[in-house]
Symmetry: C2
């Protein structure tokens, strides 16, 4: 395919994408295919001779689309939102063409420098303390990671290196293994599974601490376990506080946890993967109070800030702590400017070596929406979740299971877990909307997350009507069964 | 921006991209900007009100392009190639629009299933042993990682978990920390820096073993250190063999290393990041002989197989070993089909949770080029590197420093390292072509890698002429200095 054909096919693809986005509400949100559906539909091996674009694009509709879960359908209420916007898609096309691998400053200075400045822009949008910004000569700064999982892992590893070096400096005889055996990290019992995984990968103990009745980790719970662990000879070194948990969007208490971590020399990392985007609105910024105590902070604009996946933004107060943990400098990656202080080599900030030019997406989205446009988008979602909440409140058969703060509503039918499991099964079998469940303590709970960029009140109303109809059917059937017993 | 405007702007962007690709040879391959160039060119913070697309696209040419290192220029001979093709770009546009986050089968069955089948296609293209393929009921299979660094890390962690479990099953009293203290992994002294980093992250010893005069790790070198380490009470568990090292594209001796690893119960991982793509050509496939001894195999189609970054393909013989190392299953990620055997949940195969629909790029590229088209592309690059090699051979002032097997030529001026450092500085200061250096033992060496999709004989000839002119200037200046002394 030459440039001339790309011009033609690229424009056809743009139209295909626009058609897809405009019509996604008409597609079945949740696919009906069975496991293994795809393999019989395509050949066993790659063709020897070239095929045409027409052949392929036909197969997209025939083979791919029937197996797609449509995350951008306004009837998709599962997991958390994943961002999608036209400006981000345009930026991604450009990023693909430039196709630089920005592991060091010199591998493409624009790729590195735009990222640093965009992280400063975004830091200012959420009013992060100055210490987290790179500015012209700051000690902190931001980076784009692929996912919050990587941000948690990278900061845990940096904290691990830091504490090992500190202890070895004090007691030169101590081995790394002897120290690692005693290291212990903490998170709330509501934290994301990726936190537990980071502990597993890092080879350190990770304790999940109990939360209060609002599913929030409190200072007292942390202090209690710290006292016990220190008495037992363990070395506390890392804590993940979550803002906006995956199960129910609860918030750990930074103002209590932060001072304890600072006093005890524990690296505090904040995972605000979902909730973080909302902090661009002044009325939600208070949820981030206490970030000043943290060593690192992360959230995902690729969830709720209209920057297509992947774009997980992470800031640290002391970039030297990160870089020190990972720096290895073979000659083929060295360059003249690398020690000038002005230069950032992002390969030292992350797990992979290579990296795409992802900050273009932030630049396009921030400029084409403006801060006001992004705030309006967040507010629309929060308003819709409260609309759904009030519908649930009005139906005495249902209950709300956790405070609705942002765009997630946790609800269930009053009654047994089995009843709610049956309801969810009915919902996902009918495939008109898509939800996933969670456990809150011993309760099986349905999560209704406002996800799509194009979701409006009408979709919320339809979804609720559909849910209540299925609930009615379910209760009717249950009653009939009881009558027959 | 609505769909109608996206149609307009998307088509403009397609033209911008086509213009960029068609004109990239006219741009200065290596930017002239100084560190910190970008920040003064853009505002301090994000705009409150939306800006127009016209404003932004103007700034791309004004602010971004002067700071871009043009990896797809035919005058770019640095690092290794990074893939760029129109079919991959088209697929990426589609992938961005579908925008699913394929962490589990149900999160988008097409995303998972196409990936599994594409990895089978590619495995067959390079004639991987059956055990690495998923097929309908295989125990192995492939996955797309973001980078070779992640593939190495993931396999090291899986091997670590496996050996810890085995030892704890034998001796229930052994702690994880006590075992980790004794674990030792191996790689050649030519292996990529990401291998050392994987050891660092995994918290295990990693030894770089000496290579022979062809920079190849041999069985005898491994056996020697194994004997010593076992005698010292260490536990060897993991080895990375490299096919196509970054410095000089040398090949570790799989046929010697493999049987030793198998006998000693050491997980053998093969990193063929760059060289792997060439194995689709029958005449290069012998370089992969011995893969049958490996537990995992990885290479980067995003380097040399025309699939834009990121797409690092990895296969394992026993998927259970990988999954077992990482599996955590919170309720919000569980689904009905997950234990059916037919279903793959790729989140257990990788570090991040989220993942893009990257297999679309493979599908588009394999079908639109056909295997024959891809083979022709590899062969063109290898032919060009031999053309460059013969130019070097003809000039008595220069020498070749390592066997030219694929698309990389390591060369230098006969003489001191300082002389060659001065030559490289001249080359990169004149900014007409771009190279990076490496060390081979104590020698400072220039790497000439065939990179761009559009590079042809004429560019090689120009590059060589330019290099020899600079060399002549340099030698002249040196002679003048000697005369003046």
């Amino acid at each position: 395919m030459n440039a001339a054909e790309f011009r033609k096919r690229g424009k056809e693809m743009v139209d295909y994408v626009a058609d897809y986005m405009e019509g996604v509400h008409k597609r079945q949100v949740y696919p009906g295919v069975e496991p293994g559906y795809l393999r019989p539909l395509i050949p066993d091996s790659a063709p020897q001779e070239p095929e045409t674009f027409e052949d392929i694009i036909k197969d997209v509709e025939k083979i791919i689309m029937p197996g797609v879960t449509h995350w951008h359908s306004p009837y998709f209420f599962a997991y958390f939102p994943t961002a999608s916007s036209y400006p981000a898609m345009l930026a991604d096309i450009l990023s693909g063409a430039i196709g630089c691998i920005g592991f060091s400053w010199i591998a493409s200075p624009a790729c590195t420098e735009l990222e640093t400045v965009m992280l400063d822009w975004l830091g200012k949008m959420i009013n992060l303390p100055e210490a987290f910004l790179a500015g012209k000569d700051g000690e902190g700064g931001g980076v784009i990671q692929g996912s919050a999982s990587e941000a948690t892992l990278v900061t845990l590893l940096a904290a691990r290196t830091k504490v090992i070096r500190e202890l070895q400096a004090k007691c030169p005889g101590l081995t790394k293994a002897a120290i690692m055996d005693k290291l212990v990290a903490y998170a709330s019992d509501q934290s994301h599974s990726s936190v537990e995984r980071a502990g597993l990968i890092g080879g350190v103990k990770l304790k999940m601490l109990p939360t209060d009745d609002k599913f929030s980790l409190r200072g007292s719970a942390l202090q209690k376990v710290l006292d016990e662990d220190k008495a037992a000879g363990l070395i506390p070194f890392f804590m993940v506080a979550t803002l906006g948990t995956t199960s129910c969007c609860s918030f750990d208490n930074l103002l209590e946890l932060g001072p304890i971590c600072n006093k005890e020399n524990i690296w505090m990392h904040i995972d605000a993967a979902y909730a973080g985007s909302s902090f661009i609105c002044p009325e939600f910024r208070h949820l981030l109070n206490g970030v000043e105590f943290a060593d690192s902070y992360n959230f995902n604009p690729h969830k709720w800030l209209l920057v297509n996946f992947d774009c997980s933004t992470m800031w640290v107060k002391k970039r030297a702590d990160l870089i020190g943990a990972f720096k290895l400098d073979p000659l083929y990656l060295q360059h003249q400017n690398q020690d000038s202080g002005l230069v950032t080599d992002y390969r030292h900030w992350q797990i992979p070596l290579g990296r795409r030019f992802r900050s273009l997406k932030m630049w396009f989205v921030f400029r084409m929406y403006g801060v006001k446009g992004l705030q309006a988008y967040i507010r629309k979602h929060v308003k819709l979740s409260h609309e759904f909440e009030s519908l649930v409140h009005k139906d005495p058969r249902f209950e709300i299971c956790a405070e609705v703060v942002l765009g997630l509503v946790c609800f269930r039918m009053k009654g047994s877990n089995e009843l709610n499991e049956a309801l969810l099964e009915k919902i996902n079998k009918s495939k008109k909307i898509h939800l996933v469940p969670c456990h809150l303590r011993d309760k099986f709970v349905l999560r209704f997350a406002i996800c799509s960029r194009t979701v409006e009140s009408v979709h919320i109303q339809h979804a609720w009507q559909h849910i209540t109809e299925l609930a009615t059917e379910l209760l009717k059937k249950e009653n009939e069964q009881k009558m027959n017993q």
